[in-house]
C-alpha cells in the first residue's frame, strides 16, 4: 500500500513560513525553560555547528550515507526488476506476492536481530536493514504501475503488430514509470529510516550510533542536532529522487 497521496512534497512559500514559525516557537519554548529536554533552537544550532567543525558529524554521516547508498541502490535495482517481473508474469506474482505483502507491513525492525545473528555486529547489518526497509515499497509500487497499464494501449500496440519485447519496452515500461518513481521516492525515505534503525540497534557507527551515545550521555543539544541532520538527509534524499522523476516524467 502506498503511503500517501502522490503529491509533490514541495515546500513553497507557505512551507517556508511554516518552518520558520516552528523554529520561532521552538526558540521561545526553549528560552522559557519548559523542560531541560527542550533546549532553544539557537543552542541546538550552536551544538550542530560544533559537531560540524570538530568533524564528528562528517565522520558519522559519511558512514551512514555509505550504508544508505549501498542499501538503497541495491533495493532500487532489485526492487524494480522484481516488481516488473511480478507485474508482467502471473506465475512470479503468485509465487512472491504473499511474501511481499506480508513483509511490507511487517515490523521489519524485528528482523534486525536476525540480521545481526547472520552478519555479526557490523555495518553490513545497516546496509541490509536499509535494503529491507526500502525494497518492498519499491516492489509494490513498481508492480502496481505495471499492472495499471491501460489495457487499451496494450491492445492498440498489438493491433499495430507489437511483439512481447516491443510491448514491454514501449508500453508497459513507460506506463509504469510514474509509479516506479513514486516507489523510489517513498523507498528513499524508508531507506533513511532503515539506516537509523539499523545503526541504533548495532550501536557501532554512523548517525544512529551518535543518537544512542548522546542519549546515554545526556548531551541534549547534540542529540537534537543529530535528529535534525537525519531529518535533512531524509528530505534531501526524497527531493533528489523527485528531481529525477521530474526529469524523466515530463508528459503528465
Amino acid at each position: 500500500m502506498t503511503l500517501e497521496p502522490a503529491h509533490d512534497s514541495d515546500l513553497g512559500p507557505v512551507g517556508l513560513v511554516a518552518v520558520a514559525g516552528l523554529l520561532l516557537v521552538w526558540e521561545l519554548l526553549g528560552r522559557l525553560d519548559v523542560s531541560i529536554f527542550l533546549p532553544p533552537a539557537s543552542r541546538v544550532a550552536v551544538a550542530w555547528w560544533g559537531l560540524i567543525t570538530d568533524g564528528t558529524l562528517f565522520r558519522a554521516a559519511s558512514s551512514s550515507l555509505a550504508s544508505l547508498v549501498k542499501g538503497f541502490l541495491s533495493a532500487a535495482v532489485l526492487g524494480v526488476l522484481v516488481g516488473l517481473a511480478m507485474g508482467r508474469f502471473k506465475t512470479v506474482r503468485y509465487l512472491l506476492d504473499g511474501w511481499v505483502n506480508a513483509l511490507m507491513s511487517a515490523p521489519l525492525s524485528a528482523l534486525v536481530p536476525v540480521l545481526i545473528a547472520l552478519f555479526g555486529v557490523r555495518d553490513t547489518v545497516v546496509v541490509a536493514t536499509v535494503f529491507m526497509f526500502s525494497f518492498f515499497v519499491i516492489v509494490v509500487n513498481t508492480l502496481t504501475g505495471v499492472r495499471g497499464t491501460d489495457r487499451s494501449l496494450v491492445e492498440m500496440a498489438r493491433a499495430f503488430g507489437a511483439g512481447e519485447v516491443a510491448l514491454f519496452g514501449r508500453v508497459y515500461l513507460p506506463a509504469a514509470l510514474p509509479a516506479v518513481m513514486l516507489g523510489l521516492r517513498l523507498g528513499a525515505v524508508q531507506a533513511v529510516k532503515g539506516m537509523v534503525v539499523g545503526e541504533m540497534l548495532i550501536s557501532l557507527v554512523g548517525l544512529g550510533e551518535r543518537l544512542i551515545y548522546y542519549g546515554n550521555t545526556f548531551l541534549i543539544t547534540e542529540l537534537y542536532a543529530v535528529i535534525v541532520s537525519v531529518l535533512l538527509i531524509a528530505i534531501i534524499a526524497s527531493q533528489l529522487v523527485q528531481a529525477c522523476e521530474r526529469a524523466l516524467v515530463r508528459w503528465k
Binding site: 500500500m1 503511503l3 500517501e4 497521496p5 512534497s9 515546500l11 507557505v14 512551507g15 511554516a18 518552518v19 516552528l22 523542560s35 529536554f37 506465475t91 503468485y94 509465487l95 512472491l96 504473499g98 511474501w99 506480508a102 507491513s105 511487517a106 515490523p107 521489519l108 525492525s109 524485528a110 528482523l111 534486525v112 536481530p113 536476525v114 545481526i116 545473528a117 547472520l118 552478519f119 555479526g120 525515505v189 533513511v192 529510516k193 539506516m195 537509523v196 534503525v197 541504533m200 540497534l201 544512529g208 543518537l211 544512542i212 548522546y214 542519549g215 546515554n216 545526556f218 541534549i220 542529540l223 537534537y224 543529530v226 535528529i227 537525519v230 531529518l231 531524509a234 528530505i235 526524497s238
Partner: protein, 244 residues
C-alpha cells in the same frame, strides 16, 4: 494453481532456511525445527505470553491515542482548509523523519517505562493516521458535496452523511498503516529499552546466545503483527461493504 505456487514459495523458503542453518554461514543460525521447538518451550513457560501482554499494553495505549487524536485532527485539517495547508507541512516533516531518531529523546524525557513505549508507538503511528484522514476528506468527490448542497443540507448532516463516509476508506487504510508503523516503533523501542516485552525477550535471548529462542520470538512477533493487521483488514472490509 495459485495455491500451489504460494505453497511452493513457502516450501522453498523453509528449504532455504534449513540450508542456511546447516551451512556454516554463521554459527548463530537455528534450523526451522529448532525454532519451532523453542517457540513451544517459550509458550509453555509463559515467558512469551507475559512478554506479549506487556508489549500489547504499550501498543494499545500508543495506537489508541494515535487514532483518538489523529483521526479527528486529520478531519479538522481536511475541513478547515487553511489549517490543513499549514499542518500538513509539519506532518510531511514528521513522516519523512526517521522516527526512531526520537527514541533516545523520548526515553530521556519520560524514563524507562511503559509511558515511553506508548509515546514512541504514538509518534510512529499518529502522523500517518492523521495524514490519511486528511487525505480522505480532501479526496471526497466534490460532485457529491455539490449534490448535497443542492438539497440545502445542513453542515452537521453534510459531514456525517457525505464527508465522513466518503473519507472512511482512507481513514481505515491509514489506521492499518498506522498499526503497522505502531508495531515497528514498538519493537525498535523495546529492542533499545530492554526491560520490557517482546523486544526484551529478543535481546535477552540474543545476549545469552539462545538463538533458537530469539528466532522463535521474532517469528512470534511477526505472526502477532500479521494477525493484528489481518484483523484490522477484515474489519475494514466489513465496514466498506459497498465498495465494488
Amino acid at each position: 494453481m495459485v495455491l500451489a505456487l504460494r505453497g511452493a514459495s513457502v516450501v522453498l523458503f523453509l528449504i532455504l532456511w534449513e540450508w542456511a542453518a546447516r551451512v556454516p554461514v554463521s554459527f548463530n543460525f537455528p534450523t526451522p525445527w529448532a525454532t519451532l521447538v523453542a517457540l513451544f518451550a517459550l509458550l509453555g513457560s509463559g515467558a512469551l505470553i507475559q512478554a506479549t501482554l506487556t508489549s500489547l499494553q504499550s501498543l494499545l495505549l500508543g495506537f489508541g491515542a494515535a487514532v483518538a487524536i489523529g483521526v479527528p485532527l486529520g478531519l479538522v485539517m481536511g475541513v478547515v482548509r487553511p489549517i490543513g495547508r499549514v499542518a500538513r507541512i509539519y506532518l510531511d516533516l514528521l513522516i519523512a523523519l526517521p522516527t526512531a531518531a526520537l527514541i533516545p529523546l523520548v526515553i530521556l524525557s519520560f524514563g524507562i517505562n511503559i509511558v515511553s513505549s506508548a509515546v514512541i508507538v504514538f509518534v510512529f503511528s499518529a502522523p500517518f493516521i492523521t495524514m490519511n484522514a486528511y487525505g480522505g476528506v480532501r479526496d471526497v468527490r466534490p460532485r457529491l458535496v455539490e449534490m448535497a448542497r443542492s438539497f440545502d443540507v445542513s453542515w452537521p448532516l453534510l459531514f456525517t452523511r457525505v464527508i465522513f463516509p466518503g473519507a472512511l476508506p482512507m481513514i481505515l487504510a491509514g489506521m492499518r498503516l498506522g498499526l503497522s508503523r505502531a508495531f515497528l516503533g514498538l519493537i525498535v523501542a523495546e529492542l533499545l529499552l530492554s526491560p520490557f516485552g517482546l523486544g526484551k525477550l529478543i535481546m535477552a535471548s540474543r545476549s545469552m546466545f539462545e538463538h533458537d529462542r530469539m528466532f522463535a520470538t521474532v517469528a512470534w512477533t511477526l505472526l502477532l503483527a500479521g494477525l493484528a493487521l489481518a484483523a484490522l483488514a477484515r474489519l475494514e472490509t466489513r465496514m466498506l461493504r459497498w465498495r465494488p
